[in-house]
């Protein structure tokens, strides 16, 4: 294990009430990093890291403007795999990929940009949610002991008929 160099640090910032930005730089040209994002057999190798206990059950991606994707992800805690799907609104090889997240109705628009300088590529992921609630839900869903999640479960339990 080598220590994470400063340049490979991930920053997460809330750019506005409904936009989250994630930034990280990679020691490779933009064309290569783009390739890892746009070829399904490569994408599935990293999108659900093993440490999270998830597996990609299926992965279909047609990464071009107007194309679509469908991803099924399994986790021991899920009864059946969760499906994630949407459309690619704008794809420029080596520069950017813009997609919709349609699994929960009107979801965020994800824009990934690849900017190369001196052989390194900075990747910026913007998730722009239709409203502030969408962003809050997204953040809460990533938190293991998120209160909303727990309360949501409790609420669901309470709502069940006796």
């Amino acid at each position: 294990m080598t220590a994470t160099p400063e340049a490979a640090k991930v920053t997460v910032e809330r750019a506005s009430e409904r936009e989250l930005l994630v930034t990280r730089s990679f020691d490779a040209p933009a064309a290569l990093v783009f390739e890892a994002w746009s070829r399904p057999e490569l994408f599935r190798q990293w999108w659900t890291p093993k440490s999270l206990g998830m597996t990609i059950v299926s992965c279909e991606m047609d990464v071009r403007t107007g194309g679509s994707y469908r991803l099924e992800i399994g986790h021991p805690a899920f009864d059946s795999p969760m499906a994630f799907f949407g459309r690619y609104l704008d794809v420029v090889p080596g520069e950017r990929i813009v997609w919709t997240n349609d699994e929960n109705g009107e979801g965020a628009i994800t824009t990934v940009t690849f900017a190369e300088a001196e052989g390194r590529t900075t990747v910026v992921i913007s998730n722009l949610f239709p409203n502030v609630e969408g962003l809050e839900e997204e953040l809460a869903s990533g938190a293991c002991d998120s209160m909303e999640e727990t309360l949501g479960q409790l609420e669901a339990l309470l709502a069940e008929p006796n």
Binding site: V12, A28, P49, G142, M147
Partner: protein, 125 residues
């Protein structure tokens, strides 16, 4: 392609003081509203279509639980997010960063493979 980490761990300490505060739709709405900008109790009462007294009660519950802080200037009581809420957001962002760190570490490996392959191709060419 986002909501991945839906593991639920009950946290009793959190629940005790927070459940009643967050169990109400209006109170959750007030928190989200205050995440955008501070507001007076009068503004909030108007926006949520309720009496001043009703909104004061809700704010009281949220303040008790640390989700909202209020300050009275002159005759206007202004509400903003409390420390607890900000801590929660910071915790959420830390979790979110962890997800992406794990992803990007795996992406590094994939990119490394591609670089090696490209080098090998250059050599063979």
């Amino acid at each position: 392609m986002q909501k991945l980490n839906h593991m639920v761990h009950y946290n009793a300490a959190h629940l005790d003081s927070s459940f009643s505060a967050l169990s109400d739709t209006t109170r959750r709405g007030v928190i989200l509203r205050l995440a955008q900008a501070d507001a007076s109790i009068t503004d909030l009462a108007q926006q949520f279509g309720m009496t001043l007294t009703g909104m004061k009660k809700h704010i009281g519950v949220l303040e008790q639980a640390g989700f909202v802080a209020t300050e009275k200037v002159g005759r206007v009581r202004t509400c903003r997010l409390g420390a607890r809420r900000l801590e929660q957001e910071a915790a959420w962002i830390a979790q979110y960063r962890q997800l992406w760190e794990a992803r990007f570490d795996a992406l590094d490996d994939v990119v490394e493979q591609l670089k090696l392959k490209e080098k090998a191709n250059d050599r063979d060419a």
